[in-house]
Structure formats: C-alpha cells, structure tokens
C-alpha cells in the first residue's frame, strides 16, 4: 500500500504497528474473557446438580462426573416448581410472533420502499418527511393510547374473548383449565411492523440500484410487480437478510410491550416475558438450575442465528449504522 514510502520509516512504523497489535490483542483477549464469562457461568450453572448449586457457588462448572441435564429435562417434561412447565408453549409463542412479524415487515417494507424509490407520485416527499419526523417523537407518547385501543377494541368487538386453544391440566390433584387467547397475538405482531428504521434501511439500499435497470425493464414491457420480484428483490438480498436479523432480534427481545399485552394471560406470554418472573436476587437456590436452564433454552434461536450470521450482521450494522 505504501510502496512510495521510504524503507526505513516503513519498517519503523511496521514495528510500531506490531507493538500496538500485540497490546490490543492482550487487552481485547482479557475484555473478551470478561464478556464471555457470564455466558459460561450461565451454561455451567444450568448443568450443576442441586446440591452443588447450593454448596459450591464458587465453581463455575459442575465438578467432574457431576454434569446433569435434569433441569433441561424437567422443564420440558413437567412442572419443576409449578412455574415453568409452560416453557415449550412460551417458546412457540415467541417463535410464532417473531416469525410472523418478520415476514409481514419484510413484505410491507419492501413494497413501500419500492414505491418510494421507483415511482413518481404526488406527496411522496411529504410522506417520507413525516416518517422521518415520527422517528424523533418518543414512542412513549403512543404507548398508553395504543394499550387503551387494545382494551377498548377487544371489549367492543368481543375479540378479546376468542380462545385459540384450551389447556386442561391437573396440578397436585387440582384440575385447572387455562386458555390461550387469539387477540393478544395480533397486538404483539402488528404494532412492530410500523417501525420506520427497517423501511429506511431498505429504501436506502434501493436508492443505490441504478434507475436505468428499472427503466429499461419497464420499456421492455415488464410490469412493476415483475421488476420488483425478479430484479430488485434479488439484488437486495443481503439488506433483506439484515432486516430479518434486526427484526428478529428486536421482536424476540422486546419486553415492555408484550408485558403489557399479555398481562393476565399467562399462556400468551412470550418466553422473554415469562422469564422475567425468574430474575431478581431471590434466594431460592434450588430453583437456580431450572432458571438458568430456561435462560439457555430461551437463547437458543438467537444464538443459532448469531453463530451463522454474526459476520454479516456486524458488517451490515456497521455499514448502515450511519444511515439510520
């Protein structure tokens, strides 16, 4: 790169670069150990036997030969402390809500972005300006009315009483019937779709596609729907993947809104909301194993996504970060 530079200063700067690389490596290595430690602790704790959980708080991993998967088995199998036996249902809730939200967001956002970039129509700039302004208005102003709408519409239309599934269970000899309602799902999926950030991300990418491509396809008689599906979408594959990731992580980890919506409907909880009941410095150490196992279980989808796509995700976030 610096072919024109003189030789001696180059080797000097190379030496300096090597030195700073070594120092960075050492510091980053330590920092990364600190960043990883909580995860290692989490996994280690989830595999400890109940007696080791209480007696050996200092050891991160269970002692040799004492690894156990009983906590994982317990919450998948039956009730451990009467609290987390619904974990598989909550996991399915999260998966359904998140994937539907991602799919609807993608369809709606790509269509709108296409219109904003490749169509000329009156009021386009006004709409984009309104979208941008809305990003600076704190969402908290809308939270209360949105929840009020959820309550009033549900009550007025009777939708809030529509039961999707009925679950019968026998707990300590007491028969119980619990319901999974349809209405909260709708309100957990749809509001997230209105986010402006993902739309802008896609719109920005579409703007980088040469207009000539679209124009010439149009003059060849291709319909806009064909151009959208055959030309624009394939070109935007990596941006779309990025939006999928952002949307997935955002929806999966959302806490406040699902807490509001599912309040009073425990079977409608997302896994994130459900696990809030197991946080806090409560000294019930016998439950620690089940808690940590549940936490590991709830992390799996995000972790799988992250392991496969982290490079793309980080690069994408980095390159689009400034364009927010």
């Amino acid at each position: 790169m610096n072919a024109s530079s003189a030789r001696i200063p180059l080797s000097k700067s190379q030496k300096a670069a090597r030195k700073s690389k070594t120092i960075s490596f050492i510091i980053l290595f330590i920092v990364c150990l600190l960043f990883l430690f909580p995860f290692i602790y989490l996994v280690g704790t989830s595999m400890k036997t109940p007696s080791e959980l209480v007696n050996k708080p200092l050891s991160i991993f269970p002692s040799w030969g004492n690894f156990t998967f009983e906590h994982y088995w317990l919450f998948l199998n039956s009730d451990n402390h009467g609290r987390i036996d619904n974990l598989p249902i909550w996991m399915i809730n999260s998966l359904v809500i998140t994937s539907l939200q991602v799919i609807i967001t993608l369809i709606v956002d790509t269509l709108a972005a296409y219109a904003f970039v490749f169509f000329k129509f009156k009021g386009k700039n006004v709409i984009v300006a309104i979208l941008l302004i809305s990003m600076t208005i704190p969402g908290v102003i809308g939270t209360t009315p949105l929840y009020s709408l959820y309550v009033s519409i549900g009550k007025a239309t009777g939708l809030s009483d529509v039961v999707l599934f009925t679950l019968h269970s026998v707990n300590n000899g007491v028969e119980a019937t619990e319901y999974i309602y349809l209405y909260p799902y709708l309100w957990m999926i749809f509001p997230g779709v209105s986010g402006v950030f993902n739309l802008l991300l896609i719109k920005n990418f579409f703007e980088s596609i040469p207009k000539d491509i679209v124009e010439s396809a149009r003059s060849d008689g291709a319909s806009d729907l064909t151009i959208f599906r055959r030309i624009v979408l394939p070109l935007a594959r990596s941006t779309i993947l990025l939006v999928v990731l952002f949307c997935f992580v955002g929806s999966w980890n959302d806490l406040l809104w699902p807490t509001l919506i599912t309040s009073g409907h425990p079977l409608n909880y997302t896994i994130n909301v459900a696990l809030v009941n197991y946080t806090g410095g409560v000294s019930d150490w016998s439950a620690k194993g089940a808690q940590t196992a549940a936490a590991v279980f709830s992390m799996l989808p995000i972790l799988i996504l992250f392991l496969f796509l982290q490079n793309k995700m980080i690069d994408g976030l980095a390159s689009t970060g400034v364009k927010r």
Binding site: I107, A129, S134, P145, D224, L255, S283, G321, K323, R324
Partner: protein
C-alpha cells in the same frame, strides 16, 4: 383531434395505472404506520386533556389542563411517583451514557489495529447485545445474589446485599448495562474508525503530531457522525430505561406500584393495573410530558454537539435522518 384524445386517454390511463400501483405498494405500510404510530401519538395528546377510561370510552369528557395540573402539583400522587422516577433515571443516564459511549470507543480503537483473531473478538463483544434483558437479568442476579450463594459474594467472602434498594443496585445496573449494550455502539464506532482515511494519520505524523493529537485532530472529527448517532440512540434508549430495573431487584424490593424506578416502569404498572384505568388521561399527560422532556434532552445534545463548520458526508446523512 381524435388522435389527441386517444393519446390523452392512454396517458391518463398510464398515470392512473402508475398512480394506482403506487398506492397499492405504499398502502400496506402506511396502514400499519397510521394505525400503530400516528393515531396512538395523536390520541395520546388528545387523551391527555380528557377524563378517559378505555373500559368505558363513551363516558370520556374533556377536562382541560387538569391532568397536567396533577403532574405539577407536588402533593398529588402522580407527581410523587413520576418526578422521583424521572430524577433517578436522569441521574443514572448521566453515568451510563458516557460509559456506553467511551468504553465502546476505546474497544473500537483497539480492534481497529486488527490484531490476530479480531473478527472473533468483535463477535464476542457484540454477543451480549443480541441477548435478551431477561437472560441478562437471570445471569447477573445470580452473580450478584445477596446471600453467600452469589458468586461475587462468595469470591470476595463478603455478604453484601447488592440488589436491594439503594446506590449499590444502580451501580450493578450500570455494570450490567455496560456489558449488555457496549456491542452496538462498538460496532458502529469501529466501522467509522475503519473508514478514516489513512493518509490523514500520516500527514498528522509528518506534522509532528503525537498519538494524542492524532486522536483529537484526526480520529474524533472523522467519526463525529457515528459518535453523534450513538449518543442520540443511547440517550433515547436510556431515557426510556425499562429492562434493567425490571430484572434486577433484591428480595426486599420486589417491584411495587408505589415506588417505580423509572417513568417507563410507572407507565407499565399503571396500564396493567385496572384500578388505574380511569386515570388513563393523567397517564397520557405523564407520557406527553416525559416525551417532551426526552425530546428536550436530545435537543440539548444536538445543540451541544453541533459542528461550527460544515459536516462531513456521514454527518450530513445522519442529520438528514435524525434532525428536524
């Protein structure tokens, strides 16, 4: 004449076709946007001037500035709940926001020297940012558990009640926030650093600038856009602090509606408590005031970081999306 009308017809048809298609493409997104962003925000402002109960919408009446009056009357319950919560959040943000900007910046500078394995380091530092706050809460509330079974207490042979009400709990929250949210800013800042033109550093070195002058005269001005972006999003995020105090609490301070930790928690508790439903108008006034205060803080941030001279490319892009 006839030819002209035919041409006009096809032109009109073409415009209609194109226009109709544009509406078809934009409409789905706009419906979501209007339903779940515009209407709630508008309603929020309107309801704040009303006596409003979502369970009995018909009985709503306008009440002028009564709801805002409560908020500024030091003897009312609303003021007694909101202002301390707001104060606590602001005090926490004054400590947390600089930390969550400076630590990622330092790490980004280290990673920018590209030591061996820097992609792995990058992924590890970013990993906590995709972890949900509940999993984070489960990990750290057992690390900081108040009895001798907490790892930190066991390690230092102490018996400190980390998570009980007080400064200590907020310090733990700060620590957790740094671990949890360093990643996003780190990735954005390191991308900014990567794009700083190398010749600028060489020129600075030629002119006899040492590392510090390089940092302040070359690095910082060139990533100003990214720094502003991180500052803006971090401030917004931490004004609406919700997750950390929700998941980190001790056995003696279970969440209760009489002393919310932050304004967002207060709003969530009121909404989920049907006995507060008749105070929805008051809560909307709280949300509007809180939203305006958030905007005020971001405005101050913007004025404070406003560049005297023309900004660079990223700066302008950023501005065009965030400042209105």
């Amino acid at each position: 004449m006839a030819e002209g009308t035919i041409k006009e017809h096809t032109e009109a048809g073409e415009i209609l076709r194109r226009y109709g298609l544009a509406v078809l493409f934009v409409a789905p997104y706009l419906i979501f946007f209007v339903c779940f962003t515009v209407i709630p925000i508008g309603m929020g402002v309107v309801i704040s001037f009303m006596d409003y109960n979502p369970y009995n919408v018909g009985a709503a009446t306008f009440s002028g500035f009564k709801n805002y009056g409560y908020l500024f009357n030091p003897d009312s319950m609303v003021a007694k709940l909101f202002w301390p919560a707001f104060g606590k959040t602001m005090a926490f943000d004054l400590c947390a926001v600089p930390c969550i900007l400076i630590i990622p910046l330092l790490l980004a500078i280290l990673i920018n020297t590209q030591p061996p394995g820097y992609k792995i380091f990058r992924a590890i530092i970013y990993l906590p940012a995709v972890t949900s706050i509940t999993v984070t809460g489960i990990i750290f509330s057992s690390l900081f558990a108040g009895d001798e079974s907490g790892l930190i207490n066991a390690l230092f042979h102490t018996d400190i009640q980390w998570l009980n009400e007080g400064v200590l709990r907020w310090a733990v929250m700060l620590f957790v926030s740094i671990w949890w949210q360093t990643g996003t800013n780190f990735v954005i800042l390191s991308a900014g650093l990567r794009d700083v033109p190398k010749p600028l550093y060489e020129a600075c070195e030629m002119d006899g600038g040492n590392k510090w002058t390089q940092f302040f005269k070359v690095t910082l001005p060139n990533i100003k856009g990214q720094i502003n972006l991180c500052l803006f999003t971090t401030i917004i995020g931490y004004m609406g602090l919700y997750g950390q105090p929700t998941v980190l609490y001790g056995s003696d301070n279970q969440p209760n509606a009489l002393a919310p930790d932050t304004p967002m928690i207060m709003i969530q508790q009121w909404l989920n408590d049907p006995t507060f439903a008749k105070r929805t108008g008051t809560l909307s006034a709280v949300a509007v005031v809180f939203g305006l205060l958030t905007m005020l803080v971001t405005l101050i941030e913007k004025v404070a970081t406003k560049e005297r001279k023309r900004g660079d490319k990223h700066e302008r892009q950023f501005r065009s999306y965030t400042s209105f």
